[in-house]
């Protein structure tokens, strides 16, 4: 612990503190971004059964994932002040017809689990 503090002071003095932040010659920059893991399951409100084929996307972002046969989804996305997830039925009648839904995430955590229910059309 003491050694670590010394190392940081010396590092700071020598301007290498570029913070023990380095990148190998042929490597990538380091990742200092914040993101969160959004996971969950989408079910039909009336039947309670999982819905496959629902597009789960982040508003204003290219990212999306399609729910699997258990209605589950899981992806990392940038941590933002206002994060809205959109749930859209994009496969027509294939897995039933459901109304779209938007969910605003207010909780700030590095991992969020959502249980989503969609109304049948």
């Amino acid at each position: 612990m003491k050694k670590n503090v010394c190392r940081k002071i010396i590092g700071g003095l020598s301007l290498t503190s570029a913070m023990f932040v380095f990148q190998a010659c042929y490597g990538t920059p380091q990742d200092f971004g914040l993101d969160l893991l959004v996971e969950g399951q989408v079910k039909a409100k009336a039947s309670g059964l999982p819905i496959q084929g629902i597009k789960v996307s982040v508003a204003g972002n290219v990212q999306y994932e399609i729910t699997d046969e258990n209605g589950k989804f899981s992806f990392y996305t940038e941590m933002l002040e206002d994060l809205t997830l959109k749930f859209q039925d994009v496969d027509s009648t294939q897995n039933g017809l459901f109304h779209d839904k938007d969910t605003l995430l207010t909780e700030r955590s590095d991992k969020i689990y959502l249980d989503i229910t969609l109304d049948e059309k």
Binding site: K3, C6, R7, I10, G11, L13, S14, L15, T16, A18, F20, V21, F22, Q23, A24, C25, Y26, G27, T28, P29, Q30, D31, F32, G33, D35, L37, V62, Q63, Y64, E65, F75, Y76, T77, E78
Partner: protein
């Protein structure tokens, strides 16, 4: 006075970092297959289809031996071309489950919108794409007539995401040397924030192609180009950490030269060998994940990396800058290890002497 103090502080820091040898950065050479046939292949990466891709489980077993993992520990997928593998995202998610960050180095050819999304979904945090000039010079080096257009599209995708810490790397050579200003403008127009410049180390196919190497005078001009452009701050431009650049240290990079290979940087290579940066002579491999505990090797071996006195040989033996340079980047020691392959500082000093004549 302040400069001397900083220099001493840096040396003390370096000693302490070597003693601690905290593993912060782990390359995984996940494939040596590649979709390109670059003229400089074998210099910074290698194509060799003789090796099967390493199964993810084997790599993760090695990763799981690591103890006391620092908070900023990151795994960097490299190759070959890592995006040839369709399971990068699976491995990325496994790493994130363990609390680790991950990133990848790519030639950009397979970086399309679908892949961009799936990599983001799997928690990628940083990305480097190679871009080596304007249309003709880039396509020349990449040996592919469509590469320029394809890579520009990949760059546009990468810069569209705020999540990814992204930079572009360019290998400076005879064909693109006169284009550096235009390349810079092009990158800025594509919203690229960070640009790293390299020279090509004479290993692999790069040994016998004079067009791949710049002269001492050009190297000096490159240092000036970077120095001037760092002041304008239009783009975060820097010289790579490939070598010690004497009087240009701190003018062309954020911090003094410190080759961290084997000190903070490790690798698991395609055959399971344990080493540091993948472009280092494979004779320096320290063990193999299939026969050794990865972390024990990292912790207890790597002596040649952590005590570089052995590099006081050849032209380094009597060099007045040895204490600051310590044999240049470790990847500059190939073959018999009797002399450093490239001395960047010598190139600079030679060019300056020549100018004065």
């Amino acid at each position: 006075m302040i400069a001397t103090l900083k220099k001493h502080a840096f040396k003390a820091y370096k000693k302490s970092a070597i003693r601690k040898h905290e593993l912060n950065y782990l390359f995984w050479e996940c494939t040596t297959k590649c979709n390109l046939n670059c003229l400089h292949c074998g210099s910074d990466c290698a194509k060799d289809s003789a090796f099967e891709d390493m199964p993810i489980e084997d790599f993760l077993k090695a990763v799981d031996t690591i103890q006391n993992i620092p908070k900023n520990f990151t795994v960097v997928f490299t190759g070959g071309e890592p995006l040839i593998r369709n399971d990068i995202e699976i491995c990325g998610r496994e790493l994130r489950k363990r609390g680790f960050k991950w990133s990848l180095v790519t030639n950009g050819h397979l970086y399309n919108k679908q892949r961009h999304i799936s990599l983001l979904n799997a928690g990628i945090g940083a990305l480097t794409i190679s871009f080596d000039g304007l249309q003709e010079s880039h396509n020349w080096l990449r040996n592919n007539t469509h590469s320029f257009t394809t890579v520009l599209k990949a760059i546009e995708l990468a810069t569209s995401s705020n999540r990814i810490n992204f930079d572009v790397v360019t290998c400076v050579n005879q064909k693109n040397f006169a284009e550096l200003e235009q390349i810079k403008q092009l990158l800025i127009s594509k919203n690229v924030k960070a640009w790293r410049l390299f020279t090509i180390i004479p290993i692999g196919r790069a040994v016998n192609n004079p067009d791949l190497h710049i002269t001492d005078a050009q190297f000096l001009a490159l240092m000036e180009f970077i120095k001037i452009n760092r002041k304008t701050k239009e783009i975060d431009i820097k010289f790579s950490c490939e070598g010690y650049v004497g009087r240009y240290e701190l003018d062309v990079r954020d911090s003094n030269f410190f080759c961290r290979a084997g000190i903070n940087i490790g690798s698991v290579l395609i055959d399971g060998s344990i080493s540091a940066c993948p472009n280092i002579d494979r004779a320096f491999s320290q063990g193999n994940i299939y026969t050794h505990n990865f972390y024990e090797i990292w912790h207890n071996k790597f002596q040649a990396f952590r005590n570089r006195e052995w590099t006081k040989i050849g032209q380094c033996k009597s060099c007045k800058d040895y204490d600051d340079c310590q044999g240049n980047g470790f990847h500059n020691w190939h073959g018999e290890h009797t002399n450093v392959l490239v001395c960047h500082n010598e190139k600079i000093e030679n060019a300056i002497k020549h100018q004065k004549r």
